[in-house]
């Protein structure tokens, strides 16, 4: 049985842990085994990489070393962490001078990057378990209209993410449709949520988010399904500000893919901490009769 090293990441682990709770419960049902490791920040591919690429490489490579030392692949719950860990592997495996430089630094803390393990986004692991997921659905989400937002870093850059079509992503939609829910198409499905630029220029992040949400609202979504904590936060916490600044009502609840699957596998909203979401899920819970 494959056992993965769980990489929950800073945002899920230390800010929105209810997503980790739903994920662990779904993994347990699917017999996906994980164990912990004392990983540091991945670090952030839109933050630390922009700050200092070498520091990003060194910290990322050290995290890879921890998994290598146990000879186990990593399963990541976050687009950013997956993007960093796969991106670091890509740079080190394709640029021998970078690898030498980083291994020189790692040797000073008694470690060496070898490149022997793989980093998997949890969506890709779930995709390979479609049949098992289907068999575990006890509460069909019939009639629920879901807009899927896989986020940028799940599939871009395709050169090192190697997960899905970079501009017409399908994996998230396919997994969501296993629940019997109605996956709706909308304009700008591959568009960014605006999270990264939001940190430096709030007004531009908000305009990108608005473009996305306007299209989702127009398509008639009851809920938005995501697989990235940064996107989750952007959608869940910024809708109220959009309403304030643009005098337009959104109020579209967000579900992480593993939360949606947990509900479809018969778990209760309380069990997975849905009450911790900012945008209330009452409309969804009512529609599903939960």
């Amino acid at each position: 049985m494959t056992e993965y090293k769980m990489f929950e990441g800073c945002t899920i682990g230390n800010r929105i842990p209810f997503i980790e709770a739903a994920s662990r419960k779904v993994f347990e049902k699917l017999n996906i085994q994980t164990s912990q490791a004392p990983f540091s920040c991945c670090p952030d591919p839109t933050g630390m990489k922009s700050f200092d690429n070498n520091a990003w490489l060194a910290i990322g490579a050290r995290n890879l070393c921890l998994a290598e030392e146990e000879n186990k692949d990593i399963i990541s719950l976050c687009n950013g962490c997956t993007n960093t860990l796969r991106g670091v592997k890509h740079q080190l495996n394709h640029d021998s001078s970078k690898k030498e430089r980083i291994n020189l630094e790692l040797s000073k803390i008694g470690r060496e990057y070898k490149g022997t393990i793989d980093v998997k986004h949890f969506v890709d692991v779930l995709k390979d378990k479609s049949d098992e997921i289907k068999n575990l659905i006890t509460k069909h989400l019939t009639g629920l209209n879901i807009a899927c937002h896989p986020g940028c870093h799940y599939m871009r850059p395709s050169e090192w993410m190697e997960s899905d079509d970079p501009m017409r992503p399908m994996n998230l939609k396919e997994i969501v449709s296993l629940t019997g829910a109605n996956v709706i198409n909308y304009d700008v499905e591959a568009l960014c949520c605006g999270s990264a630029v939001h940190n430096a220029y709030e007004e531009y992040g908000a305009l990108i988010l608005k473009e996305k949400l306007d299209a989702i609202k127009k398509a008639g979504a009851d809920v938005i399904c995501v697989n990235c904590p940064a996107c989750f936060q952007q959608f869940d916490t910024q809708q109220r500000n959009l309403t304030k600044n643009f005098e337009k009502e959104y109020n579209i609840p967000i579900l992480y893919l593993t939360e949606l699957l947990a509900l479809a596998m018969g778990m209760s909203p309380d069990e997975i901490g849905l009450k911790f979401h900012r945008v209330r899920l009452n409309s969804v819970i009512e529609k599903l009769g939960l």
């Binding site: 929950e8 800073c10 945002t11 682990g13 230390n14 800010r15 842990p17 980790e20 709770a21 662990r24 912990q36 490791a37 004392p38 990983f39 540091s40 920040c41 670090p43 952030d44 591919p45 839109t46 933050g47 630390m48 990489k49 922009s50 700050f51 200092d52 690429n53 070498n54 520091a55 060194a58 910290i59 050290r62 740079q91 394709h94 640029d95 630094e105 790692l106 000073k108 803390i109 940028c152 871009r156 850059p157 395709s158 050169e159 970079p166 501009m167 568009l191 960014c192 605006g194 999270s195 990264a196 630029v197 940190n199 430096a200 531009y204 305009l207 990108i208 473009e211 901490g273 911790f276």
Partner: protein
């Protein structure tokens, strides 16, 4: 003015240094950039413009990039859309990473990045653990997050010189 040293750094930065020379300014990057869309005026004379950044970078026009509004560099939201759509396979976002790293050295990056880097230097996490969240993890039956070895991270970062780029709070 052309800065040849800067031009060389840009060329060296791109994996496959030849590729960036073949940019023919088709503007697909800017046309599909979500930030350009919300910042450019009708004639495209203002706002974030990845096409212009690539042109200035490959020609070595350092001042045109660094002596203008900080949006020129920091408007990028790292969505990697331009990388996918570039017909010449230029990894634009990697070049923009280089420009951002240079801007940080000059102390001209956005504040949140200095705070994030400081948090990682001090605690090995971008978002340090808090007692309220630790309690919530217990309520949710989650195991405690294992503490990373902060000393190892500090040693790595000091040897790379990251501590010198940090700003005091």
């Amino acid at each position: 003015m052309i800065d040849f040293e800067f031009r060389k750094q840009v060329m060296d930065y791109h994996m496959g240094s030849d590729i960036i020379k073949y940019c023919y300014q088709c503007s697909r990057c800017t046309d599909y950039c979500p930030v350009s869309k919300v910042t450019k005026d009708f004639y495209g004379t203002t706002g974030y413009d990845p096409r212009k950044n690539i042109l200035n970078a490959l020609l070595g026009y350092k001042e045109a990039i660094f002596n203008s509004d900080s949006l020129t560099i920091w408007g990028c939201t790292v969505c990697d859309t331009c990388d996918e759509l570039c017909p010449q396979n230029i990894e634009l976002t990697e070049i923009f990473t280089f420009l951002k790293n240079e801007s940080i050295i000059k102390g001209e990056g956005p504040d949140f990045l200095y705070s994030q880097a400081k948090a990682i230097f001090d605690t090995a996490k971008a978002i340090p653990s808090q007692s309220a969240i630790e309690r919530r993890r217990q309520q949710l039956d989650l195991p405690a997050v294992l503490s990373p070895n902060v000393d190892e991270i500090k040693t790595l970062l000091k040897n790379i010189g990251l501590d010198k780029k940090l700003k005091e709070d």
